[in-house]
């Protein structure tokens, strides 16, 4: 058991941090956020050059720990580039399940030329679940998918979608249950009707209406529930890591502000009412970091456990909300202005909480397992 990064992981962290620090200050972030795309193609190709957009496509080369390191840096700088949703998560699915022809897409994804999106989330879906109502239908050798997907992160700009859909029930049962499992399909963006929009934290997403859209099974087709679930667990871990970076920076900004801002003739750091609470923010941050490590280290060990993902996300949600609210409060009025970064960190942390399940959704997963063991352990 150890918690140290390898030299290579440390270098990956440093290279990512340096690239993003040089790129993004708050003015640049605001400017990029105002463009239609909401992020920068230039930064995207920079990330491609460093090798980040193909991270983990070859599991021999990089795994979840590398993802964790990168996402913490993305979170720290609040980089709006959709690294998880437009590249690594759907790309990872193609790498794992796709056939040769589909996998040939991955070079373009890693190179930054092709954007992906995982169209899984549906209205009414909460938490980290593979169950969907979108249906896949087969006629001869060809498939179509029908349903609604929303919100689909980076669905506004994706060139290729990976769509999850319930497979037809095979055999005798025809009660509409999903015994056929969930399939994954590759769908070309041109075939899809999408309505693009912005999220409150400045991301881009889309609503997809799929009406008998031609779809190509990912790989050999069939039930992909396990692969999909694993991809969602990977994404959850990446979100946790990103949140840790955002929390760390929000706390840094807050302590910096407490030492520089003067009121009543003294720096705010002279007031214990504030420093005591800043200490609690630090506790929250370290608890969150520990659980982000836990999620990533488990995946790196090959253990894709939805309970561990729920544990990590629950702590991230609690810590993220705590740190976001306190960071704004201790900044006072400037904390709720758009020109100052801390409010944007709060927005991002809030959005992460509502992506792949809120704290309550995680608790639902955890209480389901509560009676199955006595003493809780790692």
């Amino acid at each position: 058991m150890d918690f140290d990064l390898t030299d290579e992981q440390g270098m990956l962290r440093d290279v990512t941090r340096e690239a993003l620090t040089q790129t993004y200050d708050i003015e640049t972030l605001l400017k990029v956020g105002d463009t239609e795309l909401g992020w920068s193609r230039e930064v995207w190709s920079q990330l491609a050059d460093i090798g980040i957009l193909g991270l983990g496509f070859d599991p021999e080369e990089a795994g979840q720990l590398e993802l964790m390191v990168v996402f913490t840096e993305l979170g720290r700088r609040l980089a709006p580039e959709p690294v998880a949703q437009a590249a690594l998560i759907p790309g990872g699915l193609i790498a794992e399940l796709g056939d040769d022809q589909q996998r040939s897409l991955l070079d373009e994804v890693a190179g930054g030329q092709t954007l992906l999106a995982l169209a899984h989330q549906e209205p009414g879906m909460r938490g980290l679940t593979a169950r969907v109502t979108t249906r896949a239908e087969q006629q001869g050798d060809s498939w179509t998918v029908t349903g609604r997907k929303n919100p689909v992160l980076s669905g506004d700009c994706a060139d290729v979608f990976i769509v999850s859909a319930a497979l037809p029930v095979r055999g005798e049962r025809s009660d509409g249950s999903m015994d056929g499992g969930v399939g994954l399909f590759v769908v070309d963006a041109d075939a899809i009707s999408r309505r693009a929009y912005q999220t409150f934290d400045g991301q881009r997403a889309a609503h997809l209406d799929l009406d008998s859209v031609a779809a190509q099974p990912l790989g050999s087709g069939g039930d992909a529930t396990a692969g999909l679930q694993n991809a969602l667990i990977r994404h959850q871990s990446a979100l946790c890591a990103e949140a840790v970076g955002a929390m760390e920076e929000a706390l840094r900004l807050t302590t910096e502000y407490l030492t520089s801002r003067k009121q009543f003739g003294v720096p705010l750091s002279k007031f214990q009412a504030l420093t005591q609470r800043a200490a609690d923010m630090y506790v929250s941050l370290e608890m969150a970091r520990s659980m982000s490590f836990y999620a990533a280290m488990s995946i790196a060990d090959g253990n894709f456990d939805p309970v561990i993902a729920a544990r990590a996300k629950l702590q991230i949600a609690r810590s993220g909300r705590h740190i976001a609210q306190e960071a704004i409060q201790m900044h006072g009025g400037i904390g709720v202005t758009a020109e100052y970064p801390v409010g944007h960190y709060a927005a991002r942390l809030t959005a992460i909480n509502q992506t792949l399940g809120s704290a309550d959704d995680q608790l639902r997963t955890l209480i389901g397992a509560l009676g199955s063991y006595g003493t809780v352990s790692l």
């Binding site: 720990l65 200490a279 608790l363 209480i367 509560l370 006595g374």
Partner: protein
């Protein structure tokens, strides 16, 4: 980064698990599990069995009887001990005065005190806090005046835990009232409790129990060779001691055991809609506590791993802060499981309320102490704010 234990560490853990669960008498462990430890006997018996095996004081320097264990191995030792409900070695001996004597005492003091301290032949108690010196420990007023080959101690100590069983006391006393900084005039002295002039008065606590005392010193004459280290350097030793105390206070393994008891009792408590553990409101509180406990356990593993150079990590303040909050949260849960059965106290096993339920509220009330002793949680936050956040 790797979550799993190495084969060697896993074997180390399994060895300890077997030792704790087979060599420490089952009735002692059962009493610990039920919160009915017999003082001082159960603590003495367990510590001597561990000392026989050489693992009562693994945190001490190797040449003083400690073990050359990695921080992770020390953590495994502590976890396995707590999970097996083994009474931990007496903190005043094992993690407070022992390490101070080992680090700062003369060879004479080490030879004289360390073996009986490790074996709990001497039961130590702590003479630090005073009525006017709680969190602000440096304001101690108890004096020690050098007179020939002795120090003469006068003053009053308080919150002296388990002092009623103690053979010796380690005392912070002011030896230089004129020191430029008040921290600079304090010394660390050892006194036998039977020395004329020392009197002990029990303080009853809100749970009805008796575990802390006031200790009065009236012209207590202590041989000068019972000074630890240098005169007027006691504050340095006290800070060293207190930083050791903080890590021990997290008590994660113990809280885990209690939380599993909460679940057991809740699963056996019927409500109108199944058991209490099926109630999502209650189950969510348990799940939340379990989650924080794991987060703290991982944090502790991270922090202890970074203490390889022997210097306490300031992040150890988190362990005390959060560890005490979790102990309190779990004692709260236990009272809430007991419900109305928490009302009777010491009513015996003839009444309808089970004994565990009768013990729940006193324990809850008693454990309000953990966010106060060992440096209040407010002091811990100040440490985090100043040493980590630079505020």
């Amino acid at each position: 980064m790797r979550l799993t234990l190495s084969d060697a560490d896993a074997a180390f853990r399994d060895d300890l698990r077997e030792f704790f669960t087979t060599q420490i008498p089952a009735e002692i462990r059962e009493r610990v599990r039920e919160g009915r430890v017999r003082f001082p006997d159960d603590v003495v018996t367990a510590q001597r069995i561990m000392n026989e095996r050489g693992i009562a004081v693994p945190n001490w320097p190797v040449d003083c009887g400690g073990q050359d264990w990695s921080p992770l191995q020390r953590q495994l030792w502590s976890d396995e001990m707590r999970l097996a409900c083994v009474p931990e070695p007496l903190a005043f001996n094992a993690s407070m005065v022992g390490p101070v004597i080992a680090a700062f005492g003369s060879n004479e003091l080490k030879d004289r005190f360390l073996p009986p301290t490790a074996n709990l032949d001497i039961w130590w108690c702590q003479g630090f806090s005073e009525p006017e010196a709680g969190s602000d420990l440096a304001s101690v007023r108890t004096t020690a005046v050098r007179d020939g080959d002795s120090y003469v101690i006068n003053g009053q100590k308080t919150w002296t835990t388990l002092g009623q069983y103690a053979d010796w006391i380690f005392v912070l006393a002011r030896t230089d009232p004129n020191a430029p900084k008040r921290q600079a005039g304090i010394s660390f002295l050892l006194a036998e409790m039977s020395t004329p002039g020392i009197t002990l008065r029990p303080i009853k606590l809100i749970d009805g129990g008796y575990e802390v005392n006031e200790v009065f010193f009236e012209d207590v004459r202590v041989p000068a060779d019972q000074l630890v280290g240098e005169e007027n350097s006691g504050w340095t030793y006290a800070k060293f001691l207190l930083s050791n105390e903080r890590t021990g206070i997290a008590r994660i393994g113990t809280t885990k055991v209690w939380l599993s008891q909460v679940k057991d009792h809740a699963a056996n408590t019927q409500t109108e809609h199944g058991t209490l553990l099926d109630d999502p409101l209650f189950a969510a509180r348990v799940a939340e506590a379990e989650n924080e406990l794991l987060a703290l356990e991982l944090t502790q593993l991270r922090v202890s791993g970074s203490e390889a150079d022997g210097k306490p990590n300031p992040a150890s303040s988190i362990l005390k802060l959060k560890g005490s909050q979790l102990q309190q949260a779990v004692t709260e849960l236990l009272v809430d499981v007991a419900g109305p059965d928490a009302l009777p106290v010491r009513a015996g096993d003839e009444v309808g309320s089970p004994v565990w339920a009768q013990l729940a509220a006193p324990k809850y009330l008693n454990y309000r102490k953990v966010s106060i002793y060992g440096g209040t949680n407010e002091v811990q936050r100040n440490i985090v704010a100043s040493t980590i956040l630079g505020l």
